[in-house]
Symmetry: C2
Subunit: 200 residues, 2 copies
């Protein structure tokens, strides 16, 4: 950050009263510009013991496998953002209220927080090819090409969700990744919670 987005003057890192870290403050109008983590939303689309994977068409990790997702927008809930990203990338229309929270995690060195959902469909829906998802495929745990994951750091999450899927009961996974590795805790949910199952 070099300039004030409000008045266009130069900004500089300054101590701010009542704050314990330096902020970008405008030398002209005095506005303080805070920088905060971004939220990414993504979805595990589950049918039986398989889940939907997309082959990424864009950087980073183009040509590798990921689950559909992207940045949440200002006018969205995490669930409606996950629903929009899924529709945009794959053509699959799952309404926000069928998105069930499955993980809350942070990537500290990228200042990202990821809110990830699962949804459960009875049959594999048709998919479309898009710029962001040049291919869609359904993989069970044993046939997922693990060495071609776009983001290797998600492997423990993915294995956990496959395990929950086979058992038919779920949890919510909470944790983080930093430069030293990752730490997670599971909050097991009571009862069978693959609610919202429906035909597409």
């Amino acid at each position: 950050m070099n300039f004030c987005s409000d008045c266009g003057s130069k900004v500089s890192l300054q101590a701010v009263a009542g704050d314990n870290r330096q902020r970008f403050v405008c030398d002209g109008c005095g506005m303080t510009h805070y920088q905060n983590p971004n939220v990414l939303v993504a979805t595990y689309v589950c049918v039986g013991e398989s889940m939907l994977w997309i082959k990424r068409g864009t950087a980073p990790a183009a040509g590798k496998w990921a689950i559909p997702g992207g940045y949440m927008e200002n006018d969205e809930t995490p669930e409606s953002g996950a629903s929009r990203e899924l529709l945009e990338e794959t053509g699959i229309d799952v309404p926000a209220h069928e998105m069930l929270l499955v993980s809350v995690s942070s990537i500290l060195h990228m200042a990202q927080t990821h809110l990830v959902f699962r949804c459960h469909l009875e049959h594999r829906p048709d998919t479309v090819q898009t710029e962001e998802a040049v291919e869609c495929a359904w993989f069970e745990e044993h046939d997922l090409p693990w060495e071609e994951l776009a983001f290797a750091s998600i492997e423990p999450h993915v294995r956990q969700v496959y395990q929950w899927l086979r058992k038919g009961n779920y949890g919510i996974r909470v944790g983080f990744i930093d430069e030293n590795g990752s730490q997670y805790r599971n909050f097991p949910l009571a009862g069978a919670t693959s609610t919202g199952q429906r035909n597409v």
Copy 2:
């Protein structure tokens, strides 16, 4: 947003290739400036059937009661942000790993997502008076001054957490507030989950 934070040129709202909404794009360097929701983190500090409330010292809602919290910073997890805010506002030091997720909610018209935690202490710890929290008090559900809540919209969450606290089992509450009201779902957790209880 009027000016590019990178080069200081004027920005204008423009259609962006591969995007379905207008973005602020720099007329000089061409940088696209995305605007995304901010994450707030907060904590219900629980001792027995009582919870910690702070009388806010700063706007908005100065003089009214809230739970300690604030914006998450770039180098934080939600839990470490909640822990920092609690310490800054009240002097109570609860480490991040004792923060247990209790709600994920969005305030759509403010482009905020709130990640809220609970923690459980055996005894009421000492508190300090700060600019942000001019008073700390412990209230059970029946003696909380409900008409003096800083943010009336949190009442249903608060009542739910008090109820969980009395029963000794918990859930994670997921939902949103928009201009038409609010919608929430509870994900009940398996078993007694007031883990992390400790002395201060």
